[in-house]
Symmetry: C2
Amino acid sequence: MARPLRVALGQVNAVVGDIAGNEERIADLIDSAREESAQLVAFPELAITGYPPEDLLLKEHFLADARAAVERLAARAQGIVAVVGFPERAADVYNAAAVLAQGRLAGIYRKQSLPNYGVFDEVRYFQSGTRPAVIEVDGVTVGLTVCEDIWQPGPPMTEETLAGASVVLNLSASPFQAGKALEREQMIAQRAKDSVACVAFCGLVGGQDELVFDGHSVVIDHEGVVIARAPQFAEHLLVATIDPTAARAARLRDTRRRPAARGIEPQVDHLGAFTVLGDEDAPAPGPAGEVADLLDDEAEVYAALVTGLRDYVHKNGFGKVVLGLSGGIDSTLVALVAVDALGADRVTCVIMPSPHSSPGTQADSRALAANLGLRVLELRIEDLMGRYDALLADVFADVDPDITEENLQARIRGNLLMALSNKFGWLVVTTANKSEMSVGYSTLYGDSAGGFAVIKDVPKLLVYRLVEERSRRDPVSPVPDEIVTRPPSAELRADQRDDDSLPPYETLDAILEGYVEDDLGREQLVARGLDADAVDRVIGLVDVAEYKRRQQPPGPRVTSRAFGRDRRMPITNRYGG
Amino acid sequence: MARPLRVALGQVNAVVGDIAGNEERIADLIDSAREESAQLVAFPELAITGYPPEDLLLKEHFLADARAAVERLAARAQGIVAVVGFPERAADVYNAAAVLAQGRLAGIYRKQSLPNYGVFDEVRYFQSGTRPAVIEVDGVTVGLTVCEDIWQPGPPMTEETLAGASVVLNLSASPFQAGKALEREQMIAQRAKDSVACVAFCGLVGGQDELVFDGHSVVIDHEGVVIARAPQFAEHLLVATIDPTAARAARLRDTRRRPAARGIEPQVDHLGAFTVLGDEDAPAPGPAGEVADLLDDEAEVYAALVTGLRDYVHKNGFGKVVLGLSGGIDSTLVALVAVDALGADRVTCVIMPSPHSSPGTQADSRALAANLGLRVLELRIEDLMGRYDALLADVFADVDPDITEENLQARIRGNLLMALSNKFGWLVVTTANKSEMSVGYSTLYGDSAGGFAVIKDVPKLLVYRLVEERSRRDPVSPVPDEIVTRPPSAELRADQRDDDSLPPYETLDAILEGYVEDDLGREQLVARGLDADAVDRVIGLVDVAEYKRRQQPPGPRVTSRAFGRDRRMPITNRYGG
């Protein structure tokens, strides 16, 4: 008769490079877990260093510092077993899980499956481990896995469970994208059912440059039922009591889950058997843990933007942010996110009207800022526009006004925001959405100038949905109706509208989803029923704007394919499609 | 008695994504090689698609188009055997060499060693091949390898030569860095001697975004002697006659090169035996081929910059470039490179004096431009500086002038250059060197605004050496002496000098080499004899400038560790060292 096991999952917001800070946070949570009577506590993948540390992993002294932190933490592992992710420097470097027990580093498991696709570059840094591993805690056998290990069917989890593990830990740093939490949970549930084992998934939380981690730590029993779930996008210590009795009984009946019936001998490292509780102290079986709700689609993306911005600001030591308010939907969304991330007193808005700015958009900007309680600066750019025109008059004598003058307006605004940033130390947050970023409808060094591009991975139609979602939270929406209903315009020349030169956003976003996220070619897009001329036009615009995207600030990834480390296209590229 | 083999190496400047253009160029060179009586002609790694195609390799239609081009080229392989690099879509995707003979695709070798370090991401795209492969051409056994395959000692080359290959082809796309040509040649010579086989190395040439390929195709005999070498940094068809007789005789004597003595059975695919020449047409043994000189250190880097700029401009469809001339050494070097890359009639210089610009630097700028025959525009920025100050006067009422006003000057200049770019379609080339880029001594959206950063990977001291190198080529140097002798200054405030706020460049560049290129930590740098305070200061500056570097335009990599795809550091990073 196996006793229940009380497991804690330390869903921490580890900061990349902050080894001392991460160590301290982990140490505190080890203590908290012990106070909660947990026998076993787990932390995310590379919790010691933050994820992804990128080329910091190529520094010997960085790896040595990480190891030293693990050794110090081991001393804290008294009366509890802790499993902590760290980069292990041995003959090669491994993405590893350290088992800390009885005051020492008792063993190490090395991640086997190294992701090297999408945003991941793990083969650049790590060697694959080759040995599945288990530990025994108060008589319960626990398998160890790190992140990608569990996204592949098969070993190491199958080996570990065949070797007797009734609980499998997964130390994870799984970047958020829309809908991924549900997908992740379904995958884990399937793994749990396939192996008739409980899975305890400990997720990293927080923003790191282009990535946001949603946490979403979860414990799923051997029948695929969620028995505990942490809230997304927040630090949390999730505690759950797992009763392995039913899983062991089910496996006894279902001989497919027993090695003898499979004719195999599982090859597994036994890293140690640890006694935490005396027999009389065994936790009682019973209600497992809290089960937080998963956020719905829009709320989840909105929370990711808030987390991404808040962590970029705080982790990089900024106090406040500044943004240009245009009266359009994009800067409205960014203002809302900024207020929710930082509080109104840390957000300054700048309204920078030109002769092409309509009274309506200016009034809406002021109303929005007032409703949100934001400080507003107004700087009229007409005089500067005239001065640039005058300086360039001789050189431009024989040519007509064109996009040059439009870009100058945007760049004057960019200069003003950057001057405020330089003078007061505010971070400039930019407001271009993914649809614009895709087709190059933003001005390099103009509206794209700044430190963090909050909605760069949010397509235009989703921008509207997010503003609606956020507006519903207040009894009275802070967003003037006209901002939502007015046809989008950059207001860089008289009577300009986005749909003068772009397909309607319904068409544009559908083409972009196919072209950018799904790597479809022209013929496949047309076969989806999309207008052939629009497809050709959009593909051409996307390809030629690659040089602009390369110079954009980072911003949080929320789709399955973000520009940046996720979609890596050459600038010099004649393929066209 | 083996007959000699006449081999041609098609050192082509393949353009990424230009499958049709690359196909045409390869087809022409197959014909030229046949006219030169070559029996075998090789082309670089991924010659069909250009290198690196990055995420184009994730598009099914791109891979299908590449395959179709290979099939069409096969029809041209009559009376000659051609080996061409292409991405092969099979159950997975392989970095492959197609053997084209007798009018058909006769076989495929798959690269085994996939680089995934430095600038390389091949594991993201490719599966490793597992089978060494040989072909037989007029009785000579030829082993096939692709790039990284030969940078590792051992298989596939050792297997192929043990299986009888007396010649080994290497299809390569090996990015330039200073000194690499010599290093590469020494490595190949060692491989040739280790296996007692001739190596024919066919290198890609040309610029692709951040990378420059120096070509450097070379044929090295079984004693490690260079018997033919193509000029670096130029398209070229290198033809050489290889006599395998001596190698075969040497291997008969040296039983270490025979499988029986090693107790192994080489596992090698035989992709076909091809007859090109009748017995009576066998080429005579004799002088092997031309041997171009390798460039010396500075000339090589200078040529890389010229190639990088020229190809970025031409491959992206620009006609002309524009740059700001300050009278300093950096913009001087960029102007020289631009003239050599494009010709003086395609380069416009802009002199944009502020009240802080000295008469000396302005006069030197004009003299340099005149000496180089460049068109000059002069735009004085004082009025605009005053207008920005006036607009911001209320907001800045309680704070002193600081770096904000310096940055505004740089950003006004950036705006003017970008206005010229927008109006006339000129590419803006920027002038910041690697030392400045490292410590963040450039203004984002100011002097760093533009499409190509020509010297972003050239440390300051090397900037001087390159200007000297280039100056010596003309009977009278086009560079006014004062540009070389004047202490460096950004001239953004009165009496400013770089060494007011930075260590001398001798110290700075030494710290940067250790910190950026060699990943050394503080203690190791100090142990090298570098001043501890300067080390601390520089490390801090480098780390905090990561966000700026992320928004820089691309520029050619010439050191062992360039910013960009080579050195991948997080922006959010508390490590500090």
